[in-house]
Subunit: 150 residues, 4 copies
Amino acid sequence: MGGDAAETDYVERIRSSFARQGLMSTLGARLGTISLGEVEIAISPNPAISQQHGFVHAGAVTAIADTAAGYAALTLMPAGTGVLSTEFKINLLAPAVGDRIVARGRVVKAGRTLTVAQSEVFAESDGEQKLVALLTGTLITVEARDGISD
Amino acid sequence: MGGDAAETDYVERIRSSFARQGLMSTLGARLGTISLGEVEIAISPNPAISQQHGFVHAGAVTAIADTAAGYAALTLMPAGTGVLSTEFKINLLAPAVGDRIVARGRVVKAGRTLTVAQSEVFAESDGEQKLVALLTGTLITVEARDGISD
Amino acid sequence: MGGDAAETDYVERIRSSFARQGLMSTLGARLGTISLGEVEIAISPNPAISQQHGFVHAGAVTAIADTAAGYAALTLMPAGTGVLSTEFKINLLAPAVGDRIVARGRVVKAGRTLTVAQSEVFAESDGEQKLVALLTGTLITVEARDGISD
Amino acid sequence: MGGDAAETDYVERIRSSFARQGLMSTLGARLGTISLGEVEIAISPNPAISQQHGFVHAGAVTAIADTAAGYAALTLMPAGTGVLSTEFKINLLAPAVGDRIVARGRVVKAGRTLTVAQSEVFAESDGEQKLVALLTGTLITVEARDGISD
């Protein structure tokens, strides 16, 4: 299969899987750039995803960071498989405030069973961006026979 | 101040802070039992908080686990302060499916500046409960002079 | 195979594997109680394992905590397999000082491929013990065909 | 104070602190390059720091990764303070085998109280290097009045 077709494959696979994530829709999250080993997801700060001081809730920041890391991993997984997060750790470096919050997931090490990926989360304001969170997670490749595929 | 009044204080403080968390309302999360060093938060699985295979999204599980840990820490913090998560790690042990998903936050070590707390997340089905996630996080006490209080 | 024989099996398996860990010997670490899903390892504070302020180095605390978690997982793994740590997170709650530092590893969730375990690390002084660290990790079962067994 | 003098200051501060770490000496660890926000520490694989399969023990890998992250943070901390690790998470990506294992610590976000740093750990063999571990940790600045300084 040629590179172009393969690229279409993983892009379509992620768009289709993302569309089935109810939480992403509920949070108003949008898919950004998708490339081999890298996926972006963004949200816009608003009261529906806030914590008690008005910042974007760590849970919402984590949701897009985890999802971006997971889909970055999925770009490298064989067809007929699915991806699940087994664990992740996030450091919240600064309050998530601004015009847009964008998580950039990137594969650190792809394996047959386990893939390690990181997401950097940036807050964008007035054309500038600031690192507000850093997630490292482990994703597992799940076979379709377990009823799970992406 | 007597124990009863103090208890009312931290319970009211958490109820009031929780009510200002837009994300908790968006996820349909409810506060459960609140006691010194322990706070419960629950959600009901539904398509609006799902991931692509129909389970509750890790981001939603994490959001209630982090919030329960944070409020468990807040029960032990002085008046006029606020709580922020600085980092956490979560292991996702089993798919979050069932009638109700409940996060039980508990303080492991309270300090003047930093508090470490854990949340166990259980999926309840037909009266049985199963551990589906385990979060460990570090919370920081923020002074009201930083414009943050709970 | 009867319970007694099986118990002997995993106890011997861990003693034999532990004896091959050069680092444990270098740190002066000793195996303590071994039971199904639970393993203890202890060290005695001394200058050879210190950090710059005279406490036991976080690296030494982590080494016994990780090893205790790994062997706790191994008690539940089939013969002919080996155990490897894939990731862990540790919170250092208080300086590791005292007569003895003991890590108590315990399986949280055992799976065919991945096992999650925790270690609590206590500092013992004058008959009292204090929680000084908490580790959560993911262990992977490795098949003997990869040249690894315990 | 000029840049050169300041540079001498943090380099000397780290060399002096490192020399007081008994564990680093026990593991045969050596300080490498030190620059603002970045510190390298290396070990040579040998039976004294091995785990049961002959790889360098995760505890030894973690010890140099944590120490490199801590000293990277210390380069940016005021005189008269000390550094302590409050928590870290490490992903072990591949067995630590080779001629030399080197941890490269780098500050991600420096703060007045808390600093977040990462260490990448590489295994070097025949002039090639491979990423074998990735650590993210939180360091705390401790005032000299607590009897701790570096």
